[in-house]
Symmetry: C2
């Protein structure tokens, strides 16, 4: 990664992704092999007036060692460390930047799924405070891809290096343009306009139809379409996901009916799931299959009751740069932008009017799904049609052959 690209990436992350403010505390998470990039971001943050920068490293290797070697009775054990840290991040309003790119993408491949799920559940529960703060946009956060050698080799073939993958990521992140932050802000404006248009339609249901898919996803009166940038209560504009091409809402999980074929592979709990199929009855997954990773999918669905229900529905034009590339990046952050998707797991408060501050009971009463987990599953493709239905039963064509027609 050359100096110019490093500097452009750091600027994009801090100025557009996080919208870093004077005095901010910033946590940067990433793969150890991206340490130099993380240092460059730390330097940029201090230069922009950050008060404190902390670097944290992903470590699936350590998780794998624990899954393989720990005595069974300790797998659910967590330290107060994680809970207290999570609370402090939320209380102190840290800015959270996550560089997504595995050092060792196969670290958890073939791991004992029930054991792994127990570990994850304990971790997930302990880090609830900061997750809720992120979901409610109370802290600025941004997740961006960052190439690693291992990731490059996995999707581009043996011998490929991180730099080869950076060449593909740069245009997706607009890092090849003279002013990447400005380009992204303009793009965010377009997504925002699309969300406003969808919100004006006041849809009560979406229908997805395509090969292997016939799915009805109800929307609550409170469901709100969002996309692009987000904003904290104090007005700090941030971009939760870069790149982003989606327009999404939190549905009413209760009435989901029908079936859907998963159109792209997805990594769940560290293992690849592909050729998936889900069938819903009365809002719950009642049948799940996969050509690969069926046990992982089953284990995920068993995390809690909410893991079987929808927490997100997202519309994506397949003709966007990621969709058109035809590449599978083996990363939900990028791949979710290639196609329409649904998510099993917790809803996003920003996508459901008035839900900020509701307790679990209030959420359930409005059809807002609650869960410790959230995973995006692609159901879109250039063969999918999406139709909206409004309160009067009127049908409105939204996407035809994978592309927006409104």
């Amino acid at each position: 990664m050359d100096k110019q690209l490093t500097s452009a990436y750091a600027s994009l992350a801090l100025d557009a992704g996080i919208g870093l403010r004077e005095g901010a505390k910033l946590r940067v998470t990433g793969a150890p092999s991206n340490r130099e990039l993380m240092y460059a971001i730390a330097e940029g943050a201090y230069e922009r007036g950050a008060s404190l920068v902390r670097l944290e490293y992903d470590d699936d290797r350590l998780a794998r060692i624990r899954v393989d070697s720990s005595r069974d009775r300790y797998l659910d054990e967590e330290s107060l460390l994680l809970r207290r840290s999570s609370e402090v991040y939320a209380e102190e309003g840290w800015s959270l930047l996550c560089l997504l790119g595995d050092e060792d993408p196969d670290a958890l491949e073939g791991a004992d799924q029930p054991r792994l799920a127990r570990m994850r559940r304990a971790r997930s529960s302990a880090s609830e405070a900061i997750r809720l703060a992120q979901m409610a946009s109370r802290v600025p956060w941004c997740v961006m891809p960052a190439a690693t050698d291992a990731w490059a080799a996995k999707i581009l073939g043996p011998g490929a290096r991180g730099d080869d993958l950076w060449k593909l990521l740069a245009p997706i992140l607009r890092l090849d343009r003279p002013d990447p932050a400005a380009e992204l802000r303009a793009h965010m404006g377009e997504l925002d306009a699309r969300s406003r248009g969808l919100n004006e339609l006041r849809l009560r249901e979406l229908r997805f139809r395509g090969p292997g898919t016939d799915l009805r996803v109800p929307l609550a009166p409170e469901s709100r379409w969002m996309g692009g940038a987000d904003v904290t209560p104090s007005g700090q504009i941030f971009m939760p996901n870069l790149p982003t091409e989606e327009t999404f809402a939190t549905p009413d999980f209760r009435g989901t009916e029908g079936h859907a074929a998963l159109t792209r592979p997805v990594r769940i709990l560290g293992s690849l799931v592909s050729g998936g199929y889900l069938r819903f009855e009365a809002g719950r997954v009642v049948e799940a299959r996969a050509e690969r990773g069926a046990a992982t999918l089953e284990s995920y669905l068993g995390t809690d009751e909410g893991a079987r229900r929808l927490g997100e529905v997202a519309l994506v034009d397949s003709a966007n740069p990621i969709g058109k590339s035809g590449m599978v990046f083996d990363s939900p952050l990028i791949d979710e932008n290639a196609a329409c998707h649904i998510a099993l797991g917790c809803g996003y408060e920003g996508g459901f009017e008035g839900s900020l501050g509701w307790n679990d009971g209030e959420k359930a009463a409005h059809g807002f799904n609650v869960s410790l987990v959230h995973e995006d599953l692609m159901i879109g493709s250039p063969d999918i049609d999406v139709t909206g239905v409004d309160g009067s039963g009127r049908e409105i064509a939204l996407l035809r052959k994978g592309s927006f027609v409104v």
Copy 2:
């Protein structure tokens, strides 16, 4: 580092250094380039019944970036994160293993000392809870050297690799013996016998005499000689420092008088200090000089009032393997075992009878030094004589020409 050495090191660290117990939570700290070794230790810990293992990485690079780039007004700023984590480590009784070996030994060389000291002071204050727990042996802890390429190159010359340094560390750590843990336990027994012998003498003062040195260090009636292994209140035996050749006590800081030449280089606040000289009056350093790193030494002395006063005095036979090697490892952990030393900064509660649980006022009233910092400074050599004086004024020769004679 070959597989056999890795495995021997992990066993030594866990079985002898920490004395790991079933259900323990273990934190392992080290350089990123020693990650494979840290994984091996994590695996060994889980196999021995640890309930949770956490890896943390040293990061002087990040500290340097902050010193160089942060706005001045934020240098004293810390997050509650460090304070709360420190409290949890102490409350939950974590086992703390630290692999000492710099990835980048010069990261802080030439850094602005007053700015660095402000950062350190804030960090030090925030992590007080766990430091006190360690000092009082309430948690098991062990600091061991671990070779890195950068460290090897620094002391063995350009081109030297970590593996070259491991060849020197292995015999010092007894890793070349069939049962390193047993060898070390026997060695600890000898140090323990020496401590008992010294305690029976009930000394009230030590006198160091040699080239450039004429120093009197008073001992309190409560001063207690210790060495080798330590033990938690629940009876867990651990070895705070590996290797260790010292017998040490917490002196009465108030009456230190005279002057001492520092016989070996030492790294303070990240910078090397050598050719040092200290003069004490009424327990305080009133003059400090150094051929190299004088500003660093001055900055250290300014940390707080206790940084000018003694918190430790240690007797070391220069004829031990480290002393005899003639090597300067540029690491206090190893080099302090080459020669007698004193420490400027906080006293160690284990070396001062009854001090456990005293507040700062009670400590001061007994001559037990309180400070946020603690640094060992070598004053011993094969040219030094150490004489003890007991309550009746009787002089007892302890070391002659650097070697024990009692």
